[in-house]
């Protein structure tokens, strides 16, 4: 393992993040606050309780997931797309590093940034609503795993993308709908039976459900299945990335 290389990539990417820290934080914090105002206060006042918690508190895990997933994907996809776009990727390709090291550097940094933002949103949430976290360790575990797995997915998107439009396309067309329909703002049990069945094909449902369980102890799907789903998703992303570097797809001519 070329740990020095992993660290260099990680530190370099994090430096980019810290340079633009204000921008990186303001936008997610602002949008989350707006969600709380609109959903929590305006709509929440008309909804009693969901699964025993106030609606304002109920949407906290979903909101965090929404930001964390979006941030993981956009950080990682941009992180690897940018060197491809401006040509500095030649250096990575000519360096004595293997695919795992490159991934650990880029995905590690992207996941860390997303994690930072997730934590900030959590603290923002405390300003708006009262709630307790029943399983803090599990909560952190879910958060970290989510950051890593979606950063892996973002990495794949960044390598696949041939232009900036494509870079935006997958998050916009696939991820955002999956997250919104994944129970960020409602419990799956509130849906009609047909939609409940359909929802179970949405991987994000398992994530949000597991994450919400760590907050309130209630879940749409069993916690074990949530864990399995996220482990499976991470494994799948890793396999795809391994194949990409194996074949040089879209990076080596």
């Amino acid at each position: 393992m070329n740990w020095t290389a992993i660290k260099s990539i990680y530190v370099f990417e994090m430096a980019r993040f810290f340079r633009t820290m204000a921008q990186s934080f303001i936008s997610p914090v602002l949008s989350t606050s707006l969600y709380f105002v609109v959903f929590g206060a305006a709509i929440g006042s008309r909804i009693d309780q969901v699964e025993g918690v106030s609606y304002g508190a109920f949407i906290v895990p979903g909101l965090i997931m929404l930001s964390v997933i979006t941030q993981s994907i956009s950080n990682a996809s941009f992180g690897i797309y940018f060197p491809k776009f401006i040509g500095t990727i030649f250096e990575l390709l000519s360096a004595p590093v293997n695919f795992l090291e490159i991934v650990m550097g880029y995905v590690g940094a992207a996941a860390t940034k997303a994690l930072f933002i997730g934590v900030i949103i959590l603290f923002t949430a405390f300003l708006f609503v009262d709630f307790e976290i029943q399983h803090p360790l599990a909560m952190v575990g879910f958060l970290v795993l989510t950051c890593i797995s979606f950063a892996l997915m973002g990495f794949i998107i960044g390598i696949w993308a041939g232009n900036f439009e494509q870079l935006q396309l997958v998050p916009l067309l696939i991820v955002t709908p999956l997250v919104f329909l994944g129970g960020s703002f409602y419990s799956i049990s509130m849906l009609q039976p047909v939609w409940q069945v359909i929802s179970h094909f949405n991987p994000v449902v398992y994530l949000i459900s597991g994450f919400r369980w760590s907050f309130f102890g209630t879940a749409d799907v069993p916690i074990g299945i949530s864990l399995l789903a996220i482990a499976g998703f991470t494994g799948l992303c890793l396999a795809v990335i391994w194949w990409i570097f194996r074949t040089g797809w879209r990076i080596r001519e």
Binding site: N2, T4, A5, K7, S8, I9, V11, F12, A15, R19, F82, P83, I86, G87, T88, F90, E91, L92, L93, S94, A95, P96, V97, G248, R252, E253
Partner: protein
């Protein structure tokens, strides 16, 4: 001198089927400067990219100090530094941090003193905290060199380092290359400027259409090409060279109106003064004198055209 880079029968076909390298063989000796000379599209960048791991070879083998670039890529790549043809740099990065990054990427422990030495050597020290976008084109190229040197490579590839730079910067670049050679770095540089190859190389390789046409010691090559012809045009036609002038170096042109004298520009005595006084002594009257040099350019053009015809 031991061979440090050994390229054997290297072929590269791009995805569209175009064969950019058609079985290249090249051996580079440790510590030498090899100039790879070739027209645009000859395959110079492809050759370098393949050796450095940026593109994959279709077949053939490459070893660096005995390490195979595929099987033993870590050891091989650690020894190689690459200054690409295109100026690929992140505009918002700062000079020193991007050079530091390169060293880390190659797995070497941080060494601020070394980075300072490299930046000073390349006259970049004053700009160490500047953003890349604030630098001139020539400065950016120096940053690329600094990045390539940051991990102390033993073999340095410079892909057209002086393409499109002004004369002054070109001289600077040659100076830098000479200095690196003194430090024991093996240098392979590509160029399509013949004067550049003449000015700095130990050996010259000529590549065209994906094939190496020749690799030869520069001195030998220059000697072969350092011949110059002096044409002494006469006012009156003669049938044969006067006996007093006869020598191997002198011949009469086809219609007897000029004497053609071949000499070596690099020898101490070219014999021109002597020839001209003898011509006058022989009673011949000159109408004009013309010189012609067979240059690297001629040989280059000949070789490339032979390559085209084949």
């Amino acid at each position: 001198m031991p061979t440090i880079l050994d390229v054997q029968n290297l072929r590269k076909a791009y995805a569209d089927g175009f064969e950019a390298l058609k079985g290249v063989n090249l051996q580079i000796e440790e510590g030498e400067i090899l100039a790879l000379l070739g027209p645009n599209g000859a395959g110079k960048t492809t050759l370098i990219s393949t050796v450095c791991g940026i593109t994959t070879a279709t077949s053939g083998s490459v070893t660096v100090a005995g390490h195979d670039i595929f099987k033993d890529f870590r050891a091989a790549r650690t020894l190689i530094g690459l200054v690409p043809q295109e100026i690929n740099l992140e505009p918002f990065e700062r000079v020193r941090s991007t050079v530091k990054f390169s060293r880390g990427l190659f797995g070497k422990a941080a060494d601020p003193a070394l980075i300072e030495k490299i930046l000073r050597q390349l006259s970049l020290w004053d700009k160490r905290d500047n953003q890349i976008r604030e630098l001139s084109g020539g400065m950016k190229r120096r940053v690329l060199i600094a990045k390539a040197l940051a991990h102390e490579p033993r073999v340095l590839f410079l892909d057209e380092p002086t393409a499109g730079v002004d004369v002054e910067l070109r001289r600077d670049m040659w100076e830098i290359v000479a200095e690196l050679k003194r430090d024991g770095v093996t240098i392979i540089l590509t160029t399509h400027y013949i004067e550049e190859a003449e000015a700095i190389a130990d050996r010259i390789g000529i590549i065209a259409a994906g094939e190496i046409l020749l690799v030869e010691d520069k001195e030998k090559l220059m000697k072969r090409m350092g011949k110059k012809e002096l044409e002494v045009q006469l006012t009156t036609k003669i049938d044969e060279i006067p006996a007093s002038l006869k020598s191997d170096a002198l011949r009469l042109n086809h219609n007897g109106t000029a004497l053609i004298y071949t000499y070596d520009t690099r020898s101490e005595r070219t014999g021109i003064t002597k020839l001209l006084s003898e011509v006058a002594a022989a009673g011949l009257v000159l109408s004009d004198v013309v010189t012609r040099q067979s240059s690297l350019e001629d040989i280059f053009v000949d070789l490339v055209h032979e390559g085209d015809a084949a």
